[in-house]
Structures are given as structure tokens and as C-alpha cells.
Subunit: 244 residues, 2 copies
């Protein structure tokens, strides 16, 4: 039961709060002001309530954790439900949006919430925090003036091969870096597909466990990678970047 919006109330702000990519201390990856703001919010929408609570435990909270209201953005949440969650904003309170890892609304379902906030004319405030896409691109040494993030490549070998070849052609034609991710247990298979499919002179960057204890970033040509042992990628989130 929500009250009708009183016309005199200034709407709240939807704060987009990045969370960690790894277990490292929060001062490694979140600016102090973002920590302070995140610790002061009473309402959250989270991709995963459990990891959201683990994030909140790292902050100085202005109210007890169990009194913070966390909605889970599951695939079953429809627009009507999400609009209902956003009611505190219309009543002048701030809210937070968090992803399971990294920046909300980038490579996660949070963009739906932000899109609805824009429809409701709610101010959204993005905070600085870890994005594996940007960290990987910085560390790759590949073309950073033009790049495309594709999410996941197809899983089936033929479709995957075709897609990688197509991205390689675009990369060469447009001088555009190509970025993709894979679920950790398939990382080694993806690495094998990349070194088998791409041209010898194409540069491939493997960016493993960014911000984490096992962070490891190497850029080599495909020809060089073929001469190296396969890197140990099975246990950590890994971003793959290449440029033809």
C-alpha cells in the first residue's frame, strides 16, 4: 500500500553502487564517498540479496543491517513489481542498486531498473567502482579508443568459431578491440577456441581475477600464446580481449 505522491516532495536519487569483484579490502576498490553513501541507504535493489548483504557488512552502516530493505532483482521481477519497489524514491527517499559483482547495469540485469527510473523522472547517480571491462581494457594495451563488449560468445563450437572470426574481421576493419567473458569453468575451452581460431598476429589479452589476489594480465600475439602452456584460468573470472 503506497501513498499517492505528494506534489511538494522532491524525489529521491537512485544511487548506482558498484560492489567488489574479489575478496580484497573495500578501500582497494571503492572511493570513501561511495562507501559513505552506500552505508546510509535504507532501501536497495540487488541482483542477489546474499552478496548485497555481504557488501553492506563491509561498510559503516547508519542503521542495523537487518532493517535495510533489499529487493531481489530476479528474472521473475516484472516492470510493475520494480515500479512498486521504486516507491520510496517518489516519496523523497534515496535508494541503492547493486549488482552481484562490479558495476550495476553493466553486464547484469540492473539496466531495467535504471530505465524505469528514467521513465519516472528519477535522478540516477552512478558511483565510481570496479568494472572488469575497463580494468581489463586499461591493462591490455589494446586499442582503447574504440572497443566493443559482447558478453558471452556462442557455446557450440561451429557457431563460436564463426562468431570469433567475424569479431576479428570487425576488429581489423575498424581498429576496434573486442571484449568477451565466459563462465569460469569454460574459461580454458574459450582460451583454446581463441588461440585456434584467431590469426597468428592478432593480439590476445587474458585478464584473470581483476582486483583479486590472483590477478594476472598478459597480452601476447596468438602465435606467442600457442607456444606457451595454457594459463590457469578455471577458478577465476576472466575477461578476454583481442585486437586484429
Amino acid at each position: 500500500m503506497t501513498e499517492p505522491r505528494p506534489s511538494a516532495v522532491t524525489t529521491g536519487t537512485l544511487h548506482l553502487i558498484p560492489v567488489g569483484l574479489s575478496e580484497q579490502p573495500i578501500n582497494n576498490w571503492l572511493p570513501a564517498s561511495a562507501q559513505q553513501k552506500a552505508g546510509a541507504l535504507a532501501h536497495y535493489i540487488a541482483e542477489n540479496a546474499k552478496t548485497a548483504r555481504a557488501f553492506l557488512k563491509q561498510l559503516n552502516l547508519t542503521q542495523p543491517l537487518q532493517t535495510i530493505n533489499i529487493h531481489t532483482l530476479s528474472s521473475r521481477a516484472d516492470d510493475t513489481m520494480i515500479r512498486q519497489w521504486l516507491t520510496p524514491l517518489l516519496q523523497g527517499e534515496d535508494m541503492g542498486l547493486v549488482s552481484e559483482a562490479g558495476c550495476p547495469a553493466v553486464a547484469d540485469p540492473g539496466a531495467r531498473v535504471v530505465a524505469l527510473a528514467h521513465q519516472l523522472k528519477i535522478t540516477v547517480k552512478p558511483w565510481v567502482g570496479p568494472s572488469s571491462i575497463v580494468l581489463g581494457l586499461m591493462a591490455s594495451g589494446l586499442e582503447g579508443q574504440r572497443f566493443a563488449f559482447h558478453g558471452y560468445a556462442p557455446v557450440k563450437p561451429d557457431a563460436r568459431k564463426l562468431q570469433l572470426k567475424q569479431w576479428e574481421q570487425i576488429s581489423q576493419r575498424q581498429k576496434q578491440s573486442q571484449l568477451l567473458i565466459e563462465t569460469p569453468y569454460r574459461n580454458v575451452a574459450m582460451f583454446q577456441s581463441l588461440i585456434e581460431t584467431l590469426a597468428p598476429q592478432t593480439r590476445l589479452c587474458v585478464a584473470r581475477d581483476l582486483t583479486g589476489e590472483h590477478e594476472w594480465v598478459k597480452t601476447r600475439t596468438i602465435a606467442d600464446w600457442r607456444r606457451q602452456p595454457t594459463p590457469d584460468l578455471a577458478s577465476w573470472p576472466t575477461l578476454f580481449l583481442f585486437q586484429a
Copy 2:
């Protein structure tokens, strides 16, 4: 005159340090650990030495500012010169790389330095900091699972129109958000081109002065933008994002 590399020395790390996008306090946009590391480095490569010094003045430095060695990465710097600059790394010292604004090696010339570091088998460490690309994407509510950053669009009207149309087609076909920047004095002209060229139902996000005092992020359909007064964009860096 550099000494030959002693085989027993462990090479240093090239730290990729983001700098501010705006005049706001550093605790708003740089994690404490990144500030600490940046303040402890004696050697820098910078896109612009003046803005690099302005950044360093915001830190607790472990040595006087005037004793910090800053190389300027101008367009005249060739690979031989950059390799020479990287010598302290081969001697076991750490170095920093900074852009004029935001993340080094993303939408700036720093990628050349990182590529050479990889060739020399030097470890590169990307630190979390502000990227207008990621902040804008988060705040746009547009598709965050697939996106392309294009840098600048062509300036000439016909070529620009053709290019925008082409990106719109790609956006629709691949469900991929399209991101571009413009130099501030051309922002209003770019905004006009976008609302004239794109289809009425395409969503356009205008993300102005991210992290700054005049931050303003709105996403509307082209049809809606056409009914609004032109936003005030001429004085601030602005990112344009759209999705068909």
C-alpha cells in the same frame, strides 16, 4: 644512459592510475589504496604533465612533487623513447601512467605504453577509478550486456549522418548500446545530429559532466527529446549513448 638489466632484479610494476573527470574531491572518485600507491611513485608517464601535477597535489606524496619524474606522452614520443622511459621498471622500480582525465589507456594514447610494457614482460596493475564510459552506461539504463564505444563520430554532416544510421542499425540487430563522445564546443551540434538522424523510438542518453558539479544524465526516446528544449551541453564533457 641506463645500466644493463641485472638478472637478479625483480622488475617493477606499471601502475595504471585513473585521475579525476571533474574538480570534485578525490575521495569521491579514487579508492584510498589507489591514492596511497599513486602518492608513493617516483616516476610517471603522463598524457599531460600539467594536469598530472595537479592530480599529484591532491595526494599525500612520499617525496616532494618537484622530485617526481614526469615524462609527457606527446604524439612525438616514439617507441624507442617510451622504452627508455620504462627503464626504472627493469631496474625494479614502480612507475605510474596517468591520462589527462579518467582511466589511462581508455580513449587516450596511453595504450601504447601498456603495449610496450607487455612486450618487456613488465607487470601492469590497473587501479579502479572514474571512466565516463562505464559511469554513463550504468546511468543510461540502456543495454549493458553488449555495447560499443566509438570515440568520435565524423564531423562532416553527410558522413556523420551515414555513420549514426549505421550504428543504429547495428544497435537494433545486435541489441548493442552505442557510445560516442564529442569535443564540448561541438556537443550541441552532435545532439542536434542525433535527434535529427535517429528513429523516433530509439532511446538516447545524454550524460553530462559525470562525477562533476553539473552532472546531468537523462534517457529519453528521440521523439521525446524532439519535444524538449536543447540541453545545456556546451561547457562540459558529455557522453552520448543510444539504443535502437
